[in-house]
């Protein structure tokens, strides 16, 4: 893979380097807050990357991705509550549950297209929210506290902030690498082709929906991992994290960064969450600014940040 020296790649490299060195900065400056903030950002970036796989590359606009954050989180939370604290059991269950949910929801939702697909994924995610709210044993609406983070024996201590940060970062970089390989594989070519011209792909012999469904499941599974990480990060899981506005925020992160770009979700998530943080310092009503900003970006900067950088690269 030829790496060109252009603005986009330089920015990506700097951001990646920054993320790797962040804990060092945090230790040196004593600023713990930035470490916890960016742990959260990295986890959401992983979720956004998983969404980008189906949105940017697969052309499937899912408005229900927050469900997987919840499923992954509740897998960890419920198992912890029932006395199973080992990450070696919790995390595979989180992945499997997310994959299963994606399989069922995907098979149903992919019978529709376009706006109806958006509506249906939204509806099913809300259904997951209501199911979680109804589980009174596990806290219902109030949520479930997780007293001990996932236990991985002597391998890694999740309650150590720095170790946990690097675990999350590892998952993020690993996830992006996986997505990169998938995109360029036979499977990825088919998925992108189906997004581009489904009729043509069917005519040359590909069963479009089968590939879409598998892509959907892969995406949901990766997001389930993010959910498990998130539950560990907040030591808490509740249905509110699955509310549909969270799914919308994930979409915004993807679009801010630039759909269909590999590193875009990371940039977009950093931008969105840092902006949210900064605005919250000034005002309680940060959505008054974020809302119209989103509108403006959709109207004028559709390619997101990576798109803008790309324009400057070529110029």
């Amino acid at each position: 893979m030829k790496l060109q020296i252009n603005l986009r790649n330089v920015v990506v490299a700097l951001v990646a380097a920054g993320l790797v060195l962040l804990p060092l900065y945090s230790q040196l400056s004593g600023n713990i807050f930035i470490l916890t903030l960016f742990t959260r950002i990295i986890i959401f970036a992983l979720a956004a990357a998983s969404l980008n796989l189906i949105m940017g590359y697969g052309g499937m606009m899912s408005f229900g991705h927050a469900a997987y954050l919840g499923i992954g989180g509740y897998a960890v939370g419920i198992l912890a509550f029932e006395g199973i604290g080992s990450g070696f059991i919790q995390w595979p269950v989180a992945l499997a549950a997310s994959a299963l949910y994606a399989l069922v929801i995907g098979a149903l939702s992919l019978r529709t297209r376009g706006v109806y697909f958006i509506m249906i994924t939204l509806a099913f995610a809300q259904m997951a929210y209501y199911i979680a709210s109804g589980m009174s044993r596990y806290g219902g609406d109030d949520g479930l506290t997780i007293y001990k983070r996932s236990n991985f024996g002597g391998l890694i201590d999740l309650s150590n902030r720095v170790q946990f940060y690097y675990l999350c970062l590892g998952c993020l970089f690993g996830g992006i690498y996986l997505i990169w390989r998938i995109i360029n594989s036979r499977f990825g070519m088919v998925v992108q082709g189906v997004r581009s011209n489904e009729q043509r792909m069917q005519a040359i012999g590909f069963h479009a929906n089968r590939y879409r469904l598998v892509c959907f499941v892969i995406s949901g599974t990766i997001c389930g991992l993010a959910g498990a990480l998130l539950a560990n990060n907040t030591d808490f899981i509740s249905p509110a994290g699955m509310y549909w506005t969270r799914s919308g925020e994930l979409m915004v992160m993807v679009v801010f960064g630039g759909m269909g770009s590999l590193f875009g979700p990371v940039i977009g998530t950093i931008f969105f969450l840092v902006l949210e943080e900064v605005l919250s310092q000034f005002t309680e009503y940060w959505a008054l600014i974020m809302g119209p900003l989103l509108l403006l970006i959709v109207l004028f900067a559709r390619g997101g940040i990576m798109g803008l950088l790309g324009r400057f690269s070529r110029g």
């Binding site: 949105m55 606009m61 408005f63 149903l108 939702s109 019978r111 529709t112 376009g114 706006v115 109806y116 958006i118 509506m119 249906i120 939204l122 509806a123 099913f124 809300q126 259904m127 209501y130 199911i131 709210s133 109804g134 589980m135 009174s136 044993r137 549909w244 506005t245 919308g248 979409m251 915004v252 679009v255 009503y285 940060w286 959505a287 008054l288 974020m290 809302g291 119209p292 900003l293 989103l294 509108l295 959709v298 109207l299 559709r302």
Partner: protein, 304 residues
């Protein structure tokens, strides 16, 4: 009889959902525009009604002003922001209107505070009405049913029998032709959007006295409107009507009777845990079944 009362409640809920879904379908059908902020207009209808009623001291006046204000708000929104999104990808429209939802929720919180409002009914609307001998039903809920049915009938007449309606239906299938006929497309679209906003606002203000006036109320019910559109059929107002009644009935009757039904088969403890979750899920299960059996909806619009 509880069954009659609950059935009427279901009908009433279904009709409210229809008003909401009809507005969405109209805007989507004619302008090919998916408006997530439709729920926000529903919310504004409720907030306006509560505020104007408190200011003027009259429920009727408050309702009329609220309807007008929501209509105006819809028109302004379309004119200033949303018309630039016509013809854009649906995803763009979803994202942009999602931004509007965030904005509206915070704006409402800023102006009216986080706690929500109450809209008390005037005395003459709280009397129970005897609909069949021995069965009483609150006058207000009855009036919701009457008003909603009247609006539905009016909508049918306008869309199917008038010139404006013909333009609307023609505009849905061929925008260039309408423009070529010399009709002002922009104005038509603005009016249709305003109509959609008014329907949403009407639904919002009608349910305000009996259900809720709070932040985020629009989003909860918007999703139900989506489900109705999917079940009822793509682009079909008649389908939306039938599906809305159906969904309203199932949801209301389900919530009312499911706990008892479950208690007959499960233990009391299991029934109380399962019932609320199952009631909420009922509609989505229904949607899932429709998707499997007839993905294009139960009553899809005739060939366009």
């Amino acid at each position: 009889m509880v069954l009659v009362e609950q059935s009427l409640n279901g009908l009433q809920f279904g009709l409210l959902l229809f008003l909401l879904a009809a507005g969405l379908t109209l805007v989507f059908g004619i302008m090919d525009f998916v408006n997530l902020a439709h729920g926000s207009l529903y919310m504004m209808g409720a907030y306006f009604a509560a505020t104007f009623t408190a200011w003027t001291g009259s429920f009727v006046l408050g309702v009329i002003l609220a309807l007008g204000a929501t209509l105006l708000l819809g028109i302004v929104l379309e004119f200033v922001a949303l018309r630039h999104l016509y013809g854009r990808d649906h995803l763009d429209q979803v994202l942009a209107t999602f931004g509007l939802i965030l904005f509206f929720n915070d704006a409402v919180r800023l102006i009216w505070g986080p706690a929500g409002l109450a809209l008390p009914l005037p005395a003459w609307l709280t009397v129970p009405v005897q609909i069949i001998p021995g069965v009483f039903y609150p006058a207000y809920r009855l009036s919701i049913i009457v008003v909603a049915l009247a609006v539905a009938a009016l909508l049918y007449v306008v869309v199917m029998r008038t010139r404006i309606g013909m333009l609307i239906r023609a505009g849905a299938s061929n925008r260039e032709m309408i423009g070529a006929l010399g009709i002002n497309i922009k104005l038509l679209f603005t009016l249709v959007f305003g109509l959609g906003a008014a329907l949403a606002g009407l639904a919002g203000l009608m349910q305000a006295p009996i259900l809720t006036v709070q932040i985020g109320m629009g989003e909860n019910i918007l999703i139900l409107a989506f489900v109705i559109i999917v079940i009822g059929g793509i682009g079909s107002i008649r389908g939306a009507f039938l599906a809305a009644i159906f969904v309203g009935m199932i949801d209301t009757l389900g919530r009312a009777f499911l706990p008892d039904l479950l208690r007959m088969v499960l233990s009391s403890a299991a029934a109380s845990t399962a019932a609320p979750a199952l009631s909420s899920m009922l509609i989505y299960l229904l949607m899932a079944i429709v998707l499997v059996v007839r993905p294009e909806g139960l009553f899809p619009a005739a060939k366009r």
